[in-house]
Symmetry: C2
Subunit: 447 residues, 2 copies
């Protein structure tokens, strides 16, 4: 019987195991997870800290016990520390007793995930935390409750930091946000993101921009600006690195940032070795020959399906690549995007269309403005990047854009998108139709 080893038991690994078992009732499946938990909804963790997810157990999709019922072996606190892709074995370290053993595989699925970046000044600071795995969430919740915390310093302004700000405020905790740049939330264009400061202000969050924590002593943090601030608890979210150090001598190709290079079947460069999740490099769906690292759950779930099909013998199933469609809630706002980063855009000749329109019929009492910006290739009008911001209907518009772009729809073709119209939902000419009509006018200018 073929042996499948899966490295990592969170979203990518656990989903692959579940899919594979569905496709093949017989194959041997073992998951090695270095942490204490598997298969939890890490995207939901900030909302459990804030209370919107009521019970911790709601975040847990599967346990070693529930996998055992499906004949999947799960070994938590077991870290894969090396791969020999010629001998087709992995070295596994039991973190409980320190013993290392070899395990043979026929198929190896790498889903080791990523690790949060650490701020040097926060190492060994007892009140400093990160939020990346379930045990981090548990530690944060415990610390807040045991120390009756009413003030938290959040460091960084990516989506985890901002979600933590929102959820801490929802809990009634005073928050100070420290961020080294002056721009909040890098995925969104800085000229579209004024509302962040307004929302932070409206919710009583103190904001320290262009500032870094240089030192913590007792309950006080010294900032690079010279200021000292009270810091009874600190939560830092300044990014992640792929957890791929154990692959250094494996011959498996990593890119410059340490992400595992994968193809449209989820394969690495080594036979029978697949990879998915936050630690991989994959490719964009909508532009040719453009590689990307995207740590998003949708792609992990899709690749779990693709890889489990490869292993169970259906190699026709392929991964199309990613648009990188993403969204974040920040208090009343929804902030969404897809496609190339602003940096990556520089390699293409593009024009932009920026349009603001009410999300429902303008005469409805609760109609709210929604802003859409697209970046389209000057040659053929294909959409390279899109950003959508508003307080209502943002998720709808980004998902329509993703469906449209995925099947080759261009900027001008947005005029043809048919929408379900009734006053509570849209105008007869939706905001996306109007972007299309504006794109037609812009492209006519180039011709």
């Amino acid at each position: 019987m073929a042996q499948v080893i899966i490295v990592g038991g969170v979203a990518g690994g656990a989903t692959t195991a579940a899919q594979l078992r569905r496709l093949d009732p017989e194959i041997d499946i073992t998951i090695y997870e270095k942490g204490p938990h598997i298969s939890y909804g890490n995207c939901g963790m900030p909302y459990h800290v804030g209370g919107e997810v009521e019970r911790r157990d709601q975040l847990i999709a599967a346990t070693p016990e529930s996998f055992k019922e499906r004949d999947v072996i799960v070994k938590t606190r077991h870290e894969v520390v090396g791969v020999d892709s010629d001998a087709k074995t992995v070295d596994v370290k039991n973190l409980e007793d320190g013993n290392v053993f070899k395990a043979p595989y026929d198929h190896l699925v790498l889903s080791p995930g990523a690790s949060p970046r650490i701020i040097p000044a926060l190492e060994n600071v007892p009140q400093a935390f990160v939020l990346h795995a379930l045990h981090h969430m548990d530690a944060i919740k415990s610390y807040i409750e045991e120390h009756d915390i009413d003030h938290v310093v959040v460091v960084g302004a990516g989506y985890i930091s901002l979600e933590m700000v929102e959820n801490l405020v929802q809990r009634g905790i005073h928050v100070t946000l420290v961020h080294r740049s002056k721009n909040i939330y890098k995925p969104l264009e800085s000229d579209m993101s004024d509302f962040f400061l307004e929302e932070l202000h409206r919710h009583g969050v103190e904001v320290k921009l262009e500032a870094e924590i240089e030192k913590v002593e007792g309950g006080t943090a010294a900032l690079s600006t010279g200021e000292e601030i009270s810091a009874p608890m600190i939560i830092a979210g300044i990014g992640i690195n792929p957890s791929t150090g154990f692959l250094e001598d494996s011959g498996i190709t990593l890119n410059d940032s340490g992400h595992i290079c994968t193809d449209d079947r989820g394969r690495t460069n080594k036979d029978c070795v697949y990879a998915l999740g936050d630690s991989i490099e994959t490719f964009y769906q909508h532009v040719e020959d453009r590689r990307v690292n995207v740590a998003l759950a949708w792609g992990a779930h899709r690749l779990a399906f693709v890889i489990s099909n490869q292993i169970s013998g259906n190699q026709a199933v392929r991964f199309e690549g990613l648009l990188g469609t993403n969204i974040m809630r920040f208090f009343n706002y929804d902030i969404a995007g897809l496609g190339l980063s602003e940096e990556e855009l520089k390699d293409y000749p593009y024009f932009t269309v920026d349009h603001t329109q009410k999300s429902k019929a303008g005469y409805m009492a609760d109609s709210k403005p929604i802003r859409v910006r697209i970046y389209a290739h000057k040659k053929d009008g294909r959409i390279l990047r899109a950003s959508v911001v508003g307080t209502e209907g943002v998720d709808k518009r980004i998902d329509i854009l993703a469906a449209h772009i995925r099947l080759g729809g261009s900027a001008t073709d947005l005029a043809n998108i048919e929408v379900a119209y009734s006053p509570p939902y849209s105008s007869p000419k939706s905001v996306l139709n109007m972007v299309g009509y504006k794109a037609i006018e812009k492209m006519n200018e180039y011709r």
Copy 2:
């Protein structure tokens, strides 16, 4: 200078005039509208009765005066009573003085709209109303206010009737709903529509199914069931007929139901005669050779653009046809659909996928179930029809489906749709992805 005559000044006609003026600053444009008003948001009228649209003037997008500023002549209370497509003239009756005159055209745009069907027993009943044009809305509001109405009988269970029920209830008016069938809201499958009766009951609406009004005497209506009910005011919405009687001798082709047949440029069978809006027959976008009458605003707006381009000389712009994407709000529920009717489906071999899933991550406190059903062709999996029902995120899913189907996406291909995932918006595998995965399993059964 070319003369353009537009028959009808509501959505289709007014939008065509505005578009055409944008494209051609010189061309002569005259709108003849038989009613007293032009260019109003008729879809918003129920919400003004209910109060969600605060001011009547918010419903009015343009007036004869505002059109005059753009050099468009608008003649209200002028009914076009005949068309001579050989001589290229129309006969226009001034409804104020009864005079009929001939007006020559180079291009004729027909947007006469439709008329509400009348229940014989309600003719000449002073407290009986329909809601189709702005003056109907005015009459309804006046009657409610002047007679201090606290009880209304609504007849019919199409979208206008149901929107009226909701809005009357919102106003605090007691409602009795009389409907001749036992199924509420025909566009939705009867096995998906149980919630209608629950919602009606929850809001205190008395429901009389399989009942018709046979006679009204004073404030009492006699039903076909033998029952007599109090009927201090009656609003009937039992459907519409195209207002195309004036075309009978014109040589312009009408279909069996009196709708004007049009092509992918908005043209009728007669040179330089175009048509759009509720009175036309057009074609489906997603299935071949299937004609359809769809009285929806999106298509009217799109055809206004297509027709104004034809007239101003850009004949490359085409109408792709319709999916018939539609949505209605009914209290907490959103009910959406697209594609063939259940009746039309019978001509195709199809399979269905029916899937219910939470609209956001299942662990979020306010996550709500959403139900999606698709009907896909057994041969190639293309989606012929879709229905979506729920209390949250329905509009998003139907619009994604429309974008997907429009560009040739199949049922199985829904597995590949990338969604913006964060717990407040979706699961990583969205409800539409799951429909796709289920469709893959179903199609594998046929192979």
